[in-house]
Subunit: 235 residues, 2 copies
Amino acid sequence: MFKRAKQNRVFQDVVEQIQDAILTGKLPPGSKLPAERELKEMFNTSRGTLREALRVLEQKGLIEIKLGVNGGAIVKQIGTDPLMESLALLIQSGNVSLAHLSEFRIKIEGSLVELATERATPQDIEKLEQMQARARHCYDTRDWENFLKTDEAMHTYIGTMTRNPVFQFVQKSIHDNIHRYYQDFLPMNRERTLENLTDFDKIIAAMKSKDGAAASAIITDHVQRFHDKMTGKHP
Amino acid sequence: MFKRAKQNRVFQDVVEQIQDAILTGKLPPGSKLPAERELKEMFNTSRGTLREALRVLEQKGLIEIKLGVNGGAIVKQIGTDPLMESLALLIQSGNVSLAHLSEFRIKIEGSLVELATERATPQDIEKLEQMQARARHCYDTRDWENFLKTDEAMHTYIGTMTRNPVFQFVQKSIHDNIHRYYQDFLPMNRERTLENLTDFDKIIAAMKSKDGAAASAIITDHVQRFHDKMTGKHP
DNA sequence: AGATCAAAATGGTTTAACCATTGGGCAGAA
DNA sequence: TTCTGCCCAATGGTTAAACCATTTTGATCT
């Protein structure tokens, strides 16, 4: 019949008011909030309490705080950073294992490539081919570090080709979190890089012929092989 | 050559130390931190600064703070709540649309059901059939509210059948965030509920015969139809 | 003009006090 | 004895005032 009376901590009220103003666009990204000593007056609270509210907003990724004169709280463009951090916490806590993540990635990357193939423009294909050429050059000159960077950039670019930020975020967060823990076990040798090159050749070819199913199958297999190698070395 | 010297705000150092202790298991879930006035001495800092650190840890979902005597900061089991909150922020900010979410859901739910089918135990099937019976009873008595609850419970249960928390989290967060904004447009009528019942009949049958591809196709179509109806009413 | 330094604005930290909530214990009534 | 009501102490929540650290601005000197 009755709901529990709301526990009202002052700083939470401040957080809600500012967050509301940001989400409704009254405080657009890039705009600066008044100085702490002014805000304190506006909210009729103490500086300590106000600062607790700012800490929360900062942690949520809604504002960024700069030092010095003309410093202060600046409204940020909302991004995926806090999401990534939370995910990393989940993984580090052991509530989610790398095997779980990897399994998920294997499934999702197939769908992602399929969607990317459907929506690929000629410019996209061209861009991918340029990147693939760069990767091949790295292979020829045995520049493994840049090969890895290019490889990652290609995966990321395929993510943007979906034109769907959810796929992009999920791919990036899964990829980052897997590699953060696996990179020590990444043996970069001729064999593996060549395999990578061949796979991407096939994927680009499948995309060119608009064969989403084929592209999906290739990348699924590609990611699966990576998964097997890593779990083999790190059981 | 040199990295920028780290901006060391005192409260950040406190956050890191406590977070470290939690993640390494030195502070297991359920354990209680010392009182603020003790922690303040241990870290050799002021209470205000210490409280800023606690606010951050609270926002990260690592601790929970209780009031009164015997109150204090209690280490929480790390869960998906902060992740869900960040995702909700992204959606509310307009950086991610419901169409994006829904498209993602259509893809992921298929993979999820496929995996669930592979791993379904006879007990799982039995559980699903019980829930389906309950849903049918709700349909017969026109109890739409409980029908919806049962429907959601079945989706969630299929998520747990994957035995992979990543699938479970992604499914739950996507589902929650879609329904939070769509529920006003949910017309619960005989036709739609019957359709739901029929779909689940088919899915359970496919699971029984271990036909993951079929189960996947059915649920994908199911979710797609939901998506079309919602976007039709709310373009 | 350019270099140098001082001042002011602003976030970061400290201190000390008081308020609010909660749980436990104690005294008195039933 | 047992229940009720009250008070007390521990603990988080809030306030106030001061000082420190960083950074920009601009005035001054060369």
